[in-house]
């Protein structure tokens, strides 16, 4: 038995594959590639593979991870080659290594993820400086509140909601680049069991903030984001104050 940790990308058309479908795709590709995977015991055996954290439909990524149990260790390069041969275009094993099976699970390790968020706005020609001021202003907010669904208790009929302050979950937010109509933001967000903010929620909160700014300035055109493209760059764990991706962290 050997535990293999792999890093992969999910881009292009593959961003339209849901997490559940991705898991199933891995099962089938591993079988096609003839990898000697270990199975769970019991009535309905399935491959022993786990993933770090689900990616939303429509988000591309260059930093996804899985832990896979093999019956027999094979060279990582050989594994990578044969699996990539059977993967659809858009999913590619990028890196990997064998880890001790006593290591923490991916899911419990992940603390941060970073994203590039490319947005287009309606009818606006802003200069970079003004936009940067807004980003700074947004981060200076004392609280950034978001409404979340509460977990339903058993036999509870109506969904309850709660207000959460997500400002502490935003580690970084900067303007990365401006290319024509596209404004690219870079952000580092808390991810995982200790707190979680999705980039698509962040961008909605930022849009709301901008709209309020507009009202204050009494401009004619309302600010509206017309398109959002999100790319996840990587997943991290903080080790001695440094951000390490989930392969380097072990």
């Amino acid at each position: 038995m050997a535990m293999l940790r792999g890093k992969f990308s999910k881009t292009g058309d593959m961003k339209y594959i849901s997490h559940l479908d991705l898991v199933r795709l891995f099962h089938r590709v591993l079988r096609r590639a003839g990898i000697n995977i270990a199975y769970t015991q019991g009535f309905n055996p399935h491959p022993i593979i786990s993933f770090a954290t689900a990616l939303s439909l429509g988000v591309e990524s260059y930093g996804e991870y899985f832990d896979l149990k093999l019956n027999e260790e094979m060279s990582f390069t050989e594994f990578q080659q044969s699996v990539n041969q059977h993967m659809p275009r858009g999913i590619k094993i990028l890196d990997g290594k064998y880890i001790d099976s006593k290591e923490d699970s991916l899911m419990s390790m992940v603390e941060y993820s970073d994203y590039l968020i490319a947005v287009e706005f309606i009818d606006e020609n802003w200069d970079r400086e003004l936009f940067e001021q807004w980003v700074a202003g947004f981060l200076e907010e004392e609280r950034i509140m978001i409404t979340r669904k509460k977990k339903k208790k058993r036999r509870q009929r109506h969904q309850e909601y709660k207000e959460v302050d997500v400002r502490p979950l935003i580690k970084e937010l900067t303007l990365e680049s401006v290319r024509g109509e596209k404004w690219s933001l870079y952000t580092l967000l808390t991810t995982g069991s200790k707190g979680n903010l999705k980039p698509e929620d962040l961008i909605k909160l930022f849009e709301k903030y901008l709209k309020n700014q507009e009202q204050n300035r009494e401009k004619e055109n309302p600010i509206e984001i017309t398109s959002v493209e999100i790319t996840r760059k990587d997943l991290y764990q903080e080790v001695n104050g440094a951000m390490k991706n989930l392969i380097d962290a072990v």
Binding site: D21, Y39, F43, H46
Partner: protein
């Protein structure tokens, strides 16, 4: 493809629709080819959702068969879901084939499979969204050739006005003959589509509806089906069969969808045809004779398909899996695969009378799912009428054995409205279900699993073309509701769950199953009124259908609820499926006197299939 036709852009729509993976067209084992001018481009259209269409074996076979030819490129198209349809229509973008997003109107052929009468409006919708004139007579030289095939093409008359060509029977060989002929004829100077249709009509199994006209009596019955001046030397409209399944094409790989579909697994077709002669069953008649694949062939197929898909489950396909001569050897082989590679095995369509406890125990080692049995009728008398050849003891013994093995979930299928059915037969369903329930309760508590669930489903009998019951009437809507309510009131035990099909869909299905060519207009009217996805309860709108029949001066009663006499010319009488009409009459007569006919292996009942359709000289 002409230069001005560009691929349809959908990237900006994908995030706005549910399950965008339906529209990607890049699944494992999908075909992607460099397009050149000499290539024949074929769009295989399935007039239902992606999830249903991708589960259809015929599509998988023909798709890979065509794509193995260098100069043919076959792509797929399904009925887009309503969300995607609305976006495409709003943006005025035409419907496209999945692999290249090429608009449908740029294809040489669009082939529709006719699986179910209630998907006909979806065919019109696909053509309309593809910007292709619906009626054959309105299509121009540059429009694609519309070719229809599949089980409902045994009576294609209600949809005939929309088709250029209809294929009768199994498609594996004929489809290549048709395309090769097209390639040849298209090269000729002054090529016209009519030349191709004329030449194609000479291929056995090809029906060109525009080469025929139908005359009617004043009372609406058919007077005559005659050739028109367009027709050439039609070779007799005989269905096509593949005689040796071992030599027939079967893909060694199949498409593996990203999203969950109805049958998301390897499907192994073990044989075609059926040795039983249930008198209501169209499949049992039209797919004759029985042709089995050899065990060796199936083992190779199973191995290749699993290897090339990575699927975790394999399922056997046939009309009655336990009738396969080497079923035990096959299952032992599959179990072996299971033990080394963790492949689940599922075995649908088992019969009650040769249900083997050993077999079930074998399968159970893999995965224990529910069991389904289909007694079809509640009393022995009615089961004799329909020639189901299953006895009450068969069901009760099987049920008992299943409960002993720890099954607690059983499904029972019945039909209501079968010819000669009385209220006593309906109550017979109730009695039979309660006897099954008692089998469970008669076992000591420690020997049975808790939480018994018996699901009883009834569908309404729909008389179909080329069956011994093709002359029979379908019961009225009121009568369907009355009989359903008898069962609703009597199947009230907490372990029993009663499901029934909407009678209204059965009435429309019944009209199209035995309809004539005049129904093409009704179909068009219903489509114009907004009918589509009629097989889906949440879309089906009976009132629109009633209105369509009224406005076209047609009658559901005439088609669905009318008994035909033996001397009436039926809309499908000009086709030959190998089974003689005299045999169908004889079976219908035997039904009336409740006399059963043994299965084909016990005693040949001379249906006629082996006289004209195989080289085996009358032996099945």
């Amino acid at each position: 493809m002409s230069d001005q036709i560009k691929e349809v852009k959908i990237d900006d729509l994908l995030m706005k629709v549910e399950k965008p993976a339906r529209y990607l067209g890049n699944e494992m084992n999908s075909a992607h080819k460099e397009i050149n001018e000499d290539m024949v481009r074929f769009a295989f259209a399935f007039p239902d959702t992606y999830e249903i269409g991708m589960s259809h074996l015929g599509m998988q076979i023909l798709y890979h068969l065509l794509n193995e030819q260098q100069d043919i490129f076959c792509e797929r198209v399904f009925s887009p879901n309503t969300d995607m349809e609305n976006l495409l229509r709003r943006e005025e973008r035409p419907l496209f084939a999945l692999e290249t997003k090429t608009p449908l109107k740029a294809f040489d052929f669009i082939g529709f499979t006719l699986q179910y009468e209630l998907s006909y409006t979806n065919i019109l919708n696909i053509l309309d969204m593809g910007e292709i004139p619906l009626f054959q007579k309105d299509r121009e030289e540059e429009d694609p050739i519309i070719i229809l095939g599949g089980p409902c093409s045994y009576n294609p008359e209600p949809i005939a006005d929309f088709a250029d060509i209809i294929v009768l029977g199994e498609g594996e060989e004929i489809i290549l003959e048709v395309i090769n002929l097209y390639k040849k004829i298209k090269q000729k100077p002054n090529y016209q589509k009519a030349d191709f249709l004329l030449a194609a009509s000479e291929i056995e199994g090809i029906y060109v509806p525009s080469h025929f006209a139908v005359d009617y009596h004043a009372d609406g019955r058919i007077k005559e089906v005659r050739s028109t001046e367009k027709s050439g030397g039609e070779q007799g409209l005989k269905k096509r069969i593949i005689e040796d399944l071992d030599k027939a094409y079967y893909p060694d790989k199949i498409l593996v969808p990203y999203i969950d579909t109805v049958h998301n697994r390897v499907v192994l077709e073990i044989f075609r045809g059926c040795i039983r002669g249930c008198r209501f069953c169209q499949a049992g008649m039209i797919y004759r004779p029985v042709r089995e694949r050899s065990l060796e062939k199936l083992q190779t197929m199973a191995h290749d398909l699993l290897q090339n898909t990575g699927y975790e489950e394999i399922s056997l396909a046939s009309l009655s899996s336990s009738d396969y001569t080497e079923i035990e050897a096959l299952i032992h082989h599959l179990i072996e695969i299971n033990q080394k590679d963790h492949i689940g095995v599922s075995l649908p369509s088992l019969r009650l009378d040769n249900f083997s406890k050993e077999l079930i125990e074998e399968i159970q080692k893999v995965r224990k799912t529910g069991l389904t049995f289909a007694p079809e009728a509640g009393t022995q008398r009615l089961r004799d009428v329909i020639n189901k050849n299953i006895r009450e003891e068969d069901l009760l013994n099987s049920a008992k054995e299943a409960f002993e093995m720890g099954y607690n979930n059983i499904k029972l299928y019945f039909m209501i409205g079968l010819p000669t059915e009385t209220d006593e037969d309906i109550l017979g369903i109730k009695e039979l279900v309660y006897k099954v329930l008692n089998q469970y309760h008669s076992l000591p508590k420690e020997k049975r699993a808790g939480g018994l669930k018996i699901t009883v489903s009834t569908s309404t009998f729909v008389p179909k073309a080329f069956t011994p019951f093709q002359w029979e009437e379908q019961i009225s809507l009121e009568e369907i509701h009355r009989r359903q309510s008898i069962l609703k009131e009597s199947l009230t035990h907490r372990s029993i769950n009663y499901n029934y099909h909407d009678g209204k869909t059965s009435v429309v299905e019944g009209a199209f199953a035995r309809g004539d060519r005049r129904l093409s207009k009704v179909l068009y009217k219903a489509y114009s009124l907004g009918c589509k996805f009629d097989g889906w309860g949440d879309h089906f709108d009976y009132q629109k259908w009633v209105k369509a029949f009224e406005e076209e001066d047609s009658s559901l009663d005439f088609y669905s609820h009318r008994k035909r006499s033996y001397d009436e010319i039926l809309p499908w009488d000009h086709f030959d499926i190998g089974v003689n009409k005299s045999y169908l009459m004889q079976e219908n007569n035997k039904a009336k006197i409740e006399e059963v006919t043994p299965d084909c292996r016990l005693n040949c009942s001379a249906c006629g299939i082996n006289q004209k359709f195989t080289s085996r000289g009358g032996v099945c």
